[in-house]
């Protein structure tokens, strides 16, 4: 009876062993020659924007600036700025900046921080694997430069060459492939590598020179996203571990054919750690706080509507013109409406919603003879005007949207 029991146990043991050995064999197969039959999954992270908690403004996760020095008049400079948070409580945007300066002295990386509009060389240099805090759809994550790459070197081995030459006579083995030792080493990507890649992305972008936004830049080889719990503990593995990971970022870019010659061209206001850097030849004797573009409109830019009952014309900017002007930021619109330039036309005033919603810097209405000028309902609504300059004109305000 005992023998039967032992025999049953032994048979069960052999069956289990055979089954599990088969499993080991299957695994070995999928790890070697059946590699391409293993199902793969793709993890995609979209770290597109971060919200400034102090202003509510949506910022692109990455800003990039590349002065390619194609015209060889300055330094080749690549800059990257990560708009990230000061900590996991996400109280403030505390951006981390990287600047690669390439000149006759070689290539050197500088690191900056930006807080509240001030840029300065950082007291904490970021290294491979350091976490920067970002936000994805309201959840806190960390982003780190922690990508690696492998390089395989091929070295001739005399012993293997002799052996494979002899054995190749019988087996047909490829001498060329088998006479070498292959040595594969893994390296960590550096911030220099990342900046050079960013420069290449800007250089190859069909947007060309100037300012633009590239919405989905996949930096999955370099950057990975980590989950951070409420205690600030960073998960040991990046999201999408064991799968192909796409790490998409929104990149606001500036690409320039010029070389960087002036600290004012840098997004950090500093080149190679020098905020006074200037090899531009431009005397730094004039400076300004900001610049805008002035758009001057006259009565000729308005379209007229004839009103039979009053036997005259009301004027408005066309919807197309208003929409066109709304496309531009940083412009100031000054309107000089001279009634006397309309000869033999009875000008009555501004039409309903004549300038509706268009931000106007100044409006002057003038005439060579004294006359009334009506401002119909909504004609100046949401224009931001607080006063209207007149010359020989008596304004008749009919709920125009502005108190004059």
């Amino acid at each position: 009876m005992k023998d039967i029991a032992i025999r049953i146990v032994n048979i069960a043991l052999v069956v289990v062993t055979v089954f599990l050995t088969l499993m080991s064999g299957v695994l070995l197969y999928y790890k070697t020659i059946g590699k391409d039959k293993v199902p793969s999954a793709i993890t995609s992270t979209y770290a597109t924007t971060v919200e400034d908690p102090q202003t509510g403004e949506q910022l692109p996760t990455i800003e990039a600036n590349y002065y390619s020095n194609r015209n060889d008049n300055g330094y080749e400079v690549i800059e990257l700025l990560f708009n990230c948070y000061s900590g996991i409580s996400k109280q403030a945007i505390y951006s981390r900046g990287f600047q690669l300066v390439i000149n006759e002295d070689g290539t050197k990386l500088y690191q900056y921080n930006r807080y509240d509009g001030v840029n300065f060389e950082t007291g904490h240099e970021y290294e491979w694997g350091d976490i920067m805090v970002i936000d994805i759809n309201g959840t806190t994550y960390g982003v780190a430069l922690d990508g690696t790459y492998t390089v395989t070197t091929k070295n001739f081995n005399l012993g293997k060459a002799i052996w494979h030459t002899i054995s190749g006579l019988f087996t047909g083995w490829n001498y060329e492939e088998n006479a070498y030792n292959y040595d594969t080493k893994t390296y960590e990507y550096t911030f220099e590598d990342l900046l050079i890649k960013a420069g290449q992305i800007l250089k190859s972008s069909s947007n060309g020179t100037g300012d633009s936004v590239i919405s989905l830049v996949d930096l999955g080889d370099f950057l990975h996203i980590y989950e951070i719990d409420e205690n600030g503990q960073v998960s040991g593995e990046p999201v999408g571990n064991r799968t192909l990971t796409n790490s998409y970022f929104t990149m606001q870019t500036h690409y320039d054919n010029r070389g960087m010659v002036w600290a004012k061209q840098s997004m950090f206001g500093s080149v190679a750690g020098d905020s006074q850097f200037n090899i531009s030849g431009i005397a730094d004797n004039v400076d300004y706080w900001k610049v805008t573009s002035e758009v001057r409109l006259t009565e000729q830019d308005f379209v007229a509507r004839y009103l039979t009952s009053e036997n005259g014309y009301y004027y408005a900017l066309s919807t197309e013109k208003i929409n066109e002007l709304k496309n531009f930021e940083n412009i100031e619109i000054n309107i000089d409406f001279n009634i006397s330039n309309f000869e033999e036309v009875n000008v009555l005033g501004l039409d309903y919603y004549a300038l509706y919603g268009l931000k106007i810097n100044s409006l002057t209405i003038s005439s060579t003879t004294q006359r009334d000028f009506k401002l119909l309902v909504g004609s100046l609504k949401d224009t931001g005007l607080t006063s209207i300059e007149t010359n020989n004109v008596n304004l008749v305000n009919i709920n125009s949207g502005v108190s004059v």
Binding site: N10, V16, T17, F19, L20, T21, L22, M23, S24, V26, L27, Y30, V38, P39, S40, A41, T43, S44, T45, Y46, T48, P60, I136, N137, Y141, T209, G210, D211, S212, V213, S215, L216, V239, G240, R242, T243, Y248, R258, V261, W262, Q265, I282, V286, D287, Y288, W289, K290, V291, T292, S293, E294, V295, R296, L297, E324, N327, F328, E329, I331, E332
Partner: protein
């Protein structure tokens, strides 16, 4: 069975268990997405038909009042007969752009402000682009008032000088 067969079985079972776990993990992967693909709306994403990147425009003058620059570019086909265009200088519009068959003319007026919000200078730039069969000629002219040329040079030193011809319908 001899004792060493039990040992071999034990080793194979342990290896087999780990292999099975790895196989299950290997075939249970699934794709995941974190976040959403958002496109940031940009206002300067125009349908430009030509782009002239000067870097900076070198301005010369004989009388130190009118400064100008003439730069030639490769010829290109231009249809000013059937389409309307607007000039943009560093994405600032020349709203009064006038287009004829082979010519585009427009003014961009830059206003420079000082630290107290006062206007310190104005630079009124006139651009003429002429599309000849053999070349494209871009002429830039500015009248120097209140150091406007110096302010413009400072501005271009920082921002560059990128002139675009954009179809009005794409705005």
């Amino acid at each position: 069975m001899k004792w060493y067969w039990y040992l071999i079985c034990a080793v194979l079972i342990v290896v087999g268990i780990f292999s099975s776990i790895e196989l299950v993990e290997m075939f249970n992967v699934s794709s995941k997405e974190y976040g959403t693909a958002i496109t940031i709306e940009t206002k300067n994403n125009y349908d430009e038909i030509a782009k002239y990147d000067f870097g900076t425009i070198g301005l010369d003058s004989e009388d130190y009042i009118t400064f100008s620059n003439v730069t030639t570019f490769a010829p290109m086909e231009f249809d000013g007969e059937n389409k309307d265009y607007i000039l943009l200088f560093n994405d600032q519009p020349a709203v009064n752009t006038v287009v004829t068959n082979g010519k585009v003319v427009g003014d961009v007026n830059l206003v420079f402000y000082g630290l107290d919000g006062e206007v310190v200078s104005k630079a009124e730039l006139n651009f003429v682009i002429e599309y000849f069969a053999s070349q494209t000629k871009v002429t830039t002219t500015i009248t120097n008032n209140n150091d406007s040329v110096s302010y413009l040079e400072t501005y271009m030193g920082i921002n560059g000088a990128l002139l675009k011809v954009v179809e009005r319908s794409s705005l």
